[in-house]
Symmetry: none
Subunit: 218 residues, 4 copies
């Protein structure tokens, strides 16, 4: 890119290899989104990546390994955006909570191909526990971070009878359900609406922290 003048792409061997790998993962995401899990063949992935047929088994051991690496990529990418949102948000728990909840509906996370991918993997969850195990850890870390935020907010606001854990599960579940709505009914849903739905819940839960005026200008 900023390679300057002389050569446009010397690329060491290792770099070239890494780049091919990533191309294949991206092509996999797109293919799963477009054709579904079952109809995603290695030939189509390779074609999508502009590479030759036999290449997948060169970079990844098997089709399954490619899928696993794809899921891990998605998981890692999600984790990075999540924590960046967490870190970049204002200092209060309420600000951080809102920030991390909202990124689910901002690019590139809310990219519809990615959503389709997530649910394709969820669809295999019961039959291939390996898949889910791959991203459980990330999930658990994020989850307990939300529990902590909720606990802080509940204490700050002296909200009664609110269990941080149940609140967190509710928020997470709602996010996932809203993703599904976005995927299944894209015509009647959009990220903005999803965020508004989520804020409705936040306002009900924590009226002192998320006052009504707040969302007028959202």
């Amino acid at each position: 890119m900023s390679q300057g003048q002389i050569q446009s792409a010397p690329l060491s061997r290792a770099e070239g290899k890494q780049r091919s790998r990533q191309k294949l993962i991206t092509a996999t995401i797109n293919s799963i989104a477009k054709r579904g899990f079952a109809d995603t063949t290695l030939a189509r992935v390779a074609e999508g990546a502009g590479l030759s047929r036999g290449i997948v088994n060169f970079h990844f051991r098997s089709k399954d390994a490619l899928f696993l690496e794809t899921l891990k990529f998605l998981s890692r990418e999600y984790g990075e955006h999540w924590w960046r949102a967490f870190d970049d948000a204002g200092p209060t728990a309420a600000e951080k909570l809102e920030a991390v909840l909202m990124i689910d509906f901002k690019p590139p996370i809310s990219n519809r191909n990615r959503l389709a991918c997530w649910f394709a993997f969820y669809g295999e969850a019961k039959s291939r526990p390996t898949y889910m195990a791959a991203c459980t850890e990330t999930d658990e870390v994020n989850y307990s971070a939300i529990v902590d935020l909720c606990r802080t907010i509940i204490e700050e606001g002296s909200y009664e009878n609110l269990d941080p854990e149940l609140v967190t599960q509710g928020l997470s579940a709602m996010s996932e359900g809203l993703w599904l709505d976005l995927l299944v009914s894209p015509n009647t849903n959009d990220p903005e609406k999803s965020q508004e739905t989520l804020r409705t819940y936040l306002r009900s839960l924590f009226p002192k922290h998320f006052p009504i005026a707040r969302c007028a200008d959202a």
Copy 2:
């Protein structure tokens, strides 16, 4: 049905056929849950149903048709339970709302094989719109029934700044997300907890209708 009088065994042809069809659909659900969408083959479905190999193409036009019928069966079954819960619940909107939300976590709806099936179909949602279209209608009817219930409750309680539609989406999304939790993390989740998480939201939204004391005896 309109079958002679006494004998239970002989079964009219139509009934025998119907019974085989249903066996195949049940076997399909179990296979999808156990092996996933991609690894569900007609041979295995037939074996699971205790029938012969070529039978599926006899009762259903194709594999795709079998899947579609399976999804329709699931959808119809869900709709029936939903409306029975609606009808059987007490007369108030709040009672009906709670009743229909809770059935998602009661048998046979919350059966894990069925959950796995739903998400297997969701996983194909983007690539095979036909599948989703098959159950959209039922969903929409239920959805607007919930909107109506919420509107009534909001009016009864004079809850301010609550949009019935957003509230409904939030509740529906949370339900679906809780299903996913049940599917993906069965060890740390159970239907009881899911219901409690849902009630936490109801109490926050409609404190007058779902007072805290209320759930003590749930």
Copy 3:
């Protein structure tokens, strides 16, 4: 064939299946002989049998299973011919010994395609012990039968310093080596010559039982 007038091939299902299996085994033998082990593909076997491509995995679990069944067939066939020769020969040990040694060089055993097959399997002997194990039993039975015959002959003739076991190994080894000559150098060898070579050894070993006059009319 001699089906007569009415129908030429009713063939029950089971018969048809069995016939297809055998066609595939025969085609396998011919292909191994013609193209060697490595270049024998299922597609070519199927083509040779006049059947469709996917059929092998229907009748046999895998390519390997087909090969194993082919070897078993060869082994069984050999055993049957061997014992028939044994039983049909005159009553003396010498007559039986000569008879069983000679069948190695009579049709159908000495058929060159079959020889090629045997050595193709021997070629895989070290790397795939499974193959050889499949026909070890038959071999051992025949082998000890020869040892018995030799022991009888040695006692009858009071031949000194002859160990029946070593004699048997020598005879068996020579037979196998002669097969190899037939396979590798068909231009300078033929079954007749192989038999004569074998008789030369018999005459040297057991001159009283295999006198020189004896083979003049062979």
Copy 4:
């Protein structure tokens, strides 16, 4: 060998190349023995030789060429040992005959990996005449040398009715058959026994030259 004076490492280019070639041939022998002909891939050969993947096509034109060179190496090696035994043996025909027959069961010729290799090639004999042609010449020279030895011995001993050619074929065939026994049934056979079996034949054929006492001290 004729290398400069002091430094042993640097190795001229030609020598380095030659060394790599030989490493590859050795690795090929080991791989054929271990995995069989069909499963011997260039990648595995290269790995066995501790060299890089593309190297084989650099040193040899093709896989087939590598196999051919391997067979030629085996053939040349065998010929060298054979003639050394011939030359080193005592001056009589009987001594030379025994010597050359016995080397088949002495290292490195009787090395089991090498045996496996020979039979792997024999297994391809019918389908790839090229392979066998590669070592026919050596064989023929040895063969006729044995015929000469036998003729001399027969004349010396005035053995009646013994055709030197048939005797030679019998001895050669037995040797090859004993190799096969060593390969296929290593548990019940060993080189010592093979040699004894061979000597049993020699004693029967040429009792004056190979008296019974002779082998007592073998």
